[in-house]
């Protein structure tokens, strides 16, 4: 994930297949894991943890979309819809049957995967912008169904309240407790995606993205693998929806609108299409950007503008930055934040003896 070295020094298959081939990478990952496990929850304030929790939820969703769009090359503007499928499936199971979280989360994901497969069927015939419109339609159909079928939506303002998740009778409510809960699933999502992409299925996805006709010729069943991509991607989206529902304590489809689908696309574009680490970077970046702009301007904008101007400036500036950054990355660094990170890493790997 962090390092790969030139030259082949491997003497066993296990070493060859290791996710982190270099000792320095293993130490770095261990260090980061320890930092996020022990230092962050103790040192960070509740507010920063809240921000981080939202990042963790976004990480799961962004990786899911990246599997479909970044790795398999199938665009989707309907991921908000899959998230609400997951959210309402879990909320109904939790409220009606009292299902615990370790069943509700996969159940939400599986239901979303099922719907994702149905939505993915047109992808076998259509590509590009046509597929984008087909997935967009699914977003609206799902929202309409939830809004109108009270059996799904529960009735009151189409939202269902759910109790907080409990582990061995402990209710997870504070930002700190939720941080551990969410980071468990975020790590699971990252590790699963990294491994998936090294497997036969992941390689097939990449082959389809690069040239689907060639992929078919070398024996990849396009029908099956495109649907796999939709299923896995929507599973991630469904899980994101359930995590979000647990996080808020309420399932509400209005929280998974078209703007959410678009901002997840922005995450993977800015992070770098077709890389798990890029999706993580993008999720963090897009979630933190508005808050960072706001904090920066409210603290330092006073020297230039009046309070009144700042109030009207901040929200609009966030939007301008958001749009500007997407254009910037598309032109200057199409491979996104992940590429920037690799450039920095490569520079320091040879430093101070760069040639």
């Amino acid at each position: 994930m962090f390092h790969s070295e030139t030259g082949v020094f491997k003497t066993s298959y296990a070493a060859d297949m290791a996710l982190l081939p270099l000792p320095v990478a293993r130490w770095a990952v261990l260090g980061i894991a320890l930092f996020f496990l022990f230092v962050v929850p103790l040192v960070f304030s509740a507010y920063l943890l809240t921000l981080l929790n939202l990042v963790l939820i976004a990480v799961v969703g962004a990786i899911g979309l990246d599997i479909l769009t970044g790795y398999t090359g199938q665009i989707s503007i309907g991921h908000g819809g899959f998230m609400s499928v997951g959210a309402y499936t879990a909320a109904n199971l939790i409220v009606r049957l009292g299902v615990p979280f370790w069943l509700a989360i996969p159940a939400g994901g599986l239901m979303a995967a099922l719907i994702g497969i149905i939505v993915g069927i047109p992808s076998l015939r259509i590509k590009g912008i046509y597929l984008a419109i087909a997935t967009l339609a699914s977003q609206f159909i799902i929202a309409w169904l939830i809004n109108h079928v009270t059996w799904i939506s529960g009735g009151i303002e189409a939202s269902i309240q759910v109790p907080p998740p409990s582990v061995f009778g402990w209710k997870l409510q504070t930002p700190q407790q939720l941080y551990f809960f969410l980071s468990f699933f975020a790590v699971l999502a990252i590790v699963a995606a990294l491994n998936l992409m090294r497997s036969r299925i992941g390689r097939a996805f990449i082959a389809i993205r690069d040239q689907d006709i060639a992929a078919e010729i070398i024996g990849i069943n396009i029908f099956r693998y495109k649907l796999y991509a939709f299923a896995i991607s929507s599973f991630y989206a469904g899980v994101t929806g359930v995590l979000y529902t647990y996080y808020l304590g309420i399932a509400n489809y209005e929280q998974f609108g078209i703007d959410v689908s678009i901002s997840y696309l922005a995450m993977i574009i800015i992070g770098g299409l077709g890389s798990v680490l890029g999706a993580v970077f993008g999720a963090a970046f897009i979630t933190i950007l508005p808050e960072a702009t706001r904090l920066f301007l409210t603290h330092f904008g006073g020297a230039l503008f009046s309070q009144d101007t700042i109030r009207t400036l901040v929200p609009n500036l966030t939007l301008i930055l958001f749009g500007g950054l997407i254009i910037f990355f598309l032109i200057v660094e199409p491979e996104g934040l992940n590429r920037l990170w690799r450039n920095i890493r490569n520079y320091f790997r040879l430093w101070p003896f760069s040639y």
Binding site: L54, W144, E254, R294, G302, R311, P315, T318
Partner: protein, 405 residues
């Protein structure tokens, strides 16, 4: 600037912080760009007069663009900074924050939107709708139609045109129940999001169904299109009543100006127009500072709602300070402060709002203003309708919700 900074630093120890969520961007920005300046102006007015018993109010604003994640971030941020409460904006945001408010014991307000059942203070102790909810609005619209149609609705036809989202659906059960009580025929016309085309619904109403009265509960671009469409089809606008989010100046302007919308009835929970002492005071404050009043003030409907929101928080904090004898109030004190608000009219801008521990809605008062000439003219007094039915529904729904958890 340096002076201002020094002044702020000194005042910091006697400041009461309120979190404030706005949407100056996003789908409902037409509301936020006028409402939020209203709240700030009222709070500035109080601060310029020396604050409340020497305590200055700081409303820390953040733009949520009508999205939920920024609303949560902002809530946690202001909570950490020691805010005594939070002004929420938006129905999904209210629902998302409700559990946190209860858990953290911090009061939040959701004027005119949010969870209708939260008028019941026993089950929603920290959520304050502080204005007529959608149920009260729907009931008031039926009452208004009844009065306009000669005191009886028996055998009459009413059309309900609504934005097809949960908020649009909310008044429907009340209106349906009333159609049985009052014996009128009801037909519904849904406007699917994003609500930029209403032509088929308007045609169906004006040409086919030909109702005696139309109740319009739409948001965004739809109200203007509905006014324009009904006008073009020759339906009398005096027989249309719009609920509170289809009742702004922007809707009239979007329809083509005052002359087009003559006779259109708008429902308000804060008075429209500029003829209120508090608005004059704010104008005087701007004059004293040598500045022109903000443009937002011209959009009186939303601006005045902002002023009302600010005024209710100030009133609650004032009450809380009497409880604490001038010490810094806790969020719970402010919650009790809200529940002590009694007959609060703000010089006619408000209905006689009375908030109690049971009734967080404040009575469910509304007032109808009709478009006459170049502005809104009051058509009724402050009134409420079928109150028993609404309160009963609030209790039942709140109990259901409590049981579900």
């Amino acid at each position: 600037m340096a002076f201002a900074c020094a002044g702020l630093a000194q005042a910091e120890d006697k400041t009461i912080l309120i979190g404030m969520q706005c949407d100056r961007t996003g789908p409902t920005q037409v509301v936020g760009t006028s409402l939020c300046p209203g709240t700030h102006d009222y709070i500035d007015l109080i601060n310029s007069e020396g604050g409340i018993d020497g305590w200055k109010i700081n409303a820390s604003e953040v733009d949520t663009a009508y999205q939920v994640p920024p609303a949560i971030e902002e809530y946690e941020h202001t909570k950490q900074q020691g805010a005594v409460g939070i002004m929420i904006y938006g129905t999904p945001q209210t629902e998302a924050l409700n559990q946190r408010l209860e858990q953290d014991k911090i009061p939040g307000t959701s004027p005119g939107f949010g969870i209708a059942a939260s008028g019941d203070g026993q089950y929603y102790p920290y959520l304050f709708p502080i204005a007529a909810n959608y149920w009260s609005q729907g009931a008031a619209a039926v009452k208004f139609a009844k009065d306009q149609l000669g005191g009886s609705l028996k055998g009459k036809k009413i059309a309900y045109i609504f934005y097809d989202n949960p908020a649009g659906h909310e008044p429907l059960p009340v209106i349906e129940e009333l159609s049985k009580v009052e014996g009128f025929q009801l037909q519904t016309f849904a406007v699917p999001p994003p609500g930029v085309d209403v032509s088929s619904q308007v045609l169906a109403i004006a040409q086919e169904y030909r109702p005696d009265f139309v109740i319009d509960h739409t948001f965004g671009k739809s109200p203007a299109l509905i006014i324009k469409g009904l006008k073009q089809n020759g339906y009398p606008l005096t027989h249309v009543v719009a609920l509170v989010w289809a009742s702004g100046e922007a809707d009239i302007m979007g329809a083509g100006g005052w002359s087009v919308a003559q006779g259109y009835n708008t429902m308000q929970f804060a008075g429209a127009g500029e003829d209120y002492p508090v608005i004059k005071e704010i104008q005087a404050m701007y004059k004293e500072e040598g500045k022109a009043p903000p443009d937002a003030m011209k959009s009186t409907v939303y601006y005045n709602r902002g002023v009302q929101q600010g005024a209710l928080w100030v009133a609650a904090i004032k009450n809380a300070l009497t409880l604490t004898h001038g010490q810094k109030p806790t969020p719970t004190d402010v919650k009790m402060g809200f529940e002590m608000i009694h007959d609060f009219t703000l010089g006619g801008l408000n209905a006689p709002l009375t908030i109690t521990a049971d009734d967080h809605e404040g009575g469910g008062w509304v007032k109808i203003f009709q478009v006459k000439g170049e502005g809104f003219a009051p058509e009724t007094q402050w009134f409420r309708a079928y109150r028993d039915l609404i309160v009963d529904r609030e209790h039942k729904t709140a109990q259901q919700m409590a049981k579900a958890n």
